[in-house]
């Protein structure tokens, strides 16, 4: 019975749609769980600017507030280990997701970001048998998610041997920054066969190609509603084909239920891998219909889903 247990969410950044959707899912799911008497409390805490120190302080405060479990989307995989260890030492269950932590005492609900990057190239291998030039849009320099996805893409490119990354820019996971960087480098690039992205930059890239008056290549999308909508429009108009992949913000709810299960005394493996959410040509309409206007394609987990997920691991 976990009805008197308290779970806290430690989040380090709230300034984009993905994070907002993630917080939303948590909030909705947590409130329901509290109302149902499954859990005592499910509070969310967020700091401003993706800073390790502030998140570490946040975790330490949660220790003081006596939470039984802390669910973390971490700013840095290693740099929070100090605070995480303190939490573990205080007997608190720590579950990390999306931005995972490497402290051995914590649980990890990881997305294989490298595989996510590689899957883009796998898709391109199929779609563009002749290969071609690629433009890579990266995230924020120095953040591990960026490094992982990019590493996956580069491995894929090396294995395939058909593609060449002719340009690589940092879009800081911000649409306008990405658009700006692409627009700047585009004139100097040869013909581009495809654009590989880290999520959410696809629409901006398409805009930049359009503005430069160049044919829009195959752009891998990042599950955002505006991207999917644009894709749908292109598909209807000229049969445009691509795929879209990202991590579902609702993974916060999975982390919530995993923490609840651990509190409930279940044994759960320390390392869990959650599949990323992929949209393909055939299920585009279906996924688009389920996505909130201006939001991100999402999958939320219920207790039953979570139990099923754990059983399958």
């Amino acid at each position: 019975d976990t009805s008197d247990k308290k779970i806290a969410l430690s989040n380090n950044y709230a300034g984009n749609s993905w994070r907002q959707a993630m917080l939303n899912s948590w909030q909705k799911n947590g409130q329901q769980a509290v109302a149902d008497g499954v859990i005592g409390a499910a509070d969310a805490f967020t700091t401003a600017e993706n800073q390790v120190t502030e998140q570490a302080a946040q975790i330490q405060n949660m220790i003081l507030q006596g939470y039984d479990a802390i669910v973390i989307n971490a700013a840095s995989p290693d740099a929070l280990n100090g605070a995480v260890q303190q939490a573990c030492d205080a007997g608190i269950i720590v579950v990390s997701f999306d931005g995972i932590v490497t402290a051995p005492c914590a649980w990890r609900i990881a997305v294989d970001f490298a595989a996510m990057g590689q899957s883009q190239i796998d898709y391109l291998n199929e779609k563009l048998p002749k290969g071609g030039n690629l433009l890579e849009i990266r995230g924020l320099a120095g953040v591990f998610v960026d490094d992982e996805i990019s590493a996956g893409i580069h491995t894929g490119v090396k294995e395939s041997g058909k593609f060449k990354i002719t340009g690589s820019v940092h879009g800081d996971w911000a649409q306008d920054v990405a658009q700006k960087a692409v627009a700047g480098i585009l004139p100097s690039l040869p013909e581009i066969a495809a654009v590989v992205t880290q999520g959410g930059d696809g629409y901006g890239a398409a805009q930049a190609f359009k503005a430069a008056g160049r044919p829009v290549p195959l752009i891998i999308m990042g599950n955002r509603q505006d991207e999917l909508l644009w894709w749908k429009e292109q598909k209807d108009a000229n049969g445009y084909e691509t795929m879209s992949v990202s991590i579902a913000p609702g993974v916060s709810t999975l982390a919530f239920w995993v923490a609840q299960q651990i509190l409930d005394g279940k044994t759960v493996a320390k390392d869990l891998v959650v599949p990323f959410l992929r949209v393909d040509q055939h299920d585009l309409e279906e996924k688009l219909a389920k996505t909130e206007k201006g939001g991100v394609a999402n999958v939320e987990y219920s207790l039953i889903d979570a139990k099923k997920f754990l059983a399958e691991m």
Binding site: R19, A48, A141, K180, P187
Partner: protein, 319 residues
């Protein structure tokens, strides 16, 4: 011969010329690298993106011209709020475009008044007042917009992305706006008052200028320009997002000082802002084109900025 060389020296003595020289040099280096490919398109792109830095840069320039300590750090949050408010209000409907603009400007107005209240009534140093208010503004944007990205009305998107012979329509509009603001700076009582206050606020008071009123209007103007930028930027990039203003914190300050405006106040340089905005865009483009790593790119950006500052301060000294 003599007059040509004196003209040359005269031009070199203008502090903003270095930003344009820098922009040109960087552009040249890039197209030499690409073997001439994409030279024109690069300028087109530079113009479209420089436009946004110029809008906020002008506002920041007016504030910085008020003298040491005056700076507006709430620009990014202000951009975001204006973008979020206007996009949500317009909800992609063309007929709401003007209403959306009004709402954006209104949010800017509120921000400006709030900032000045903190500075004047609570005597909080501008740098901290605007930093604190930016947190509150961002929270407002989050609470209001919930991070949802709503598409701009088609007509607005069209307007912000149209080119005429490779020149972005928006850039032309902002050149006109910049010209008007330049005239305002040099040919109106308000503009001259700003410059006077920036040089010597006590003397300005004794010369009959209402110092606090001018300061109020300046912070308001800066906030209004930032909100205009938020509105246009959201239209340009397909909707407002919560982090859309982030990069304009450093950018707005950088284009002002690289453009030749004195951080000590009292000396503004409007054309220089265009030069600096183009320079900053082309610099990033050049480093991207060279295919350097993120670290090296940032290091070179820093070194080049400091270099431009050293060059331009030296050229000011002999006069």
């Amino acid at each position: 011969m003599h007059s040509i060389s004196s003209l040359f020296h005269h031009t070199l003595a203008k502090p903003w010329i270095w930003a344009f020289i820098g922009a040109f040099a960087v552009w040249l280096a890039t197209i030499i690298f690409t073997g001439g490919q994409g030279a024109g398109q690069m300028l087109t792109a530079a113009l479209s993106f420089a436009t946004f830095s110029v809008i906020v840069g002008i506002g920041q320039m007016f504030v910085i011209s008020l003298g040491p300590g005056n700076i507006d750090l709430s620009i990014p949050a202000n951009i975001t709020l204006a973008g979020v408010v206007s996009m949500k209000l317009m909800d992609s409907h063309n007929e709401m475009i003007l209403l959306g603009l009004g709402a954006a400007l209104l949010s800017g107005l509120a921000v400006g008044i709030f900032n000045y209240t903190l500075i004047r009534l609570l005597r909080i140093p501008p740098i901290i007042a605007t930093m604190s208010s930016s947190f509150l503004i961002l929270s407002t944007a989050i609470a209001y917009g919930r991070g949802l990205k709503i598409k701009p009305p088609a007509a607005l998107a069209e307007f912000t992305t149209t080119h005429i012979y490779g020149v972005p329509l928006l850039a032309i509009c902002i050149v006109v706006l910049a010209f008007i603001l330049g005239v305002m700076l040099h040919r109106t009582v308000f503009g001259q008052s700003i410059l006077a206050i920036g040089q010597n606020p006590r003397a300005a008071k004794f010369a009959g200028i209402s110092v606090e009123y001018v300061r109020f209007c300046t912070y308001l103007l800066c906030a209004l320009l930032a909100s205009l930028c938020g509105y246009l930027l959201a239209g340009f990039s397909g909707g407002a997002s919560l982090n859309m203003g982030t990069e304009y914190l450093l950018a707005s300050i950088a284009v002002v000082v690289i453009g030749g405006t004195s951080v000590a106040g009292g000396f503004s340089n409007l054309p220089g802002i265009w030069g600096a905005a183009l320079f900053m865009f082309l610099l990033v483009t050049m480093l991207n084109t060279f295919g350097l790593s993120a670290g090296l790119r940032l290091m070179l950006t820093g070194i080049i900025i400091v270099g431009v500052i050293i060059l331009s301060t030296r050229s000011k000294q002999p006069s």
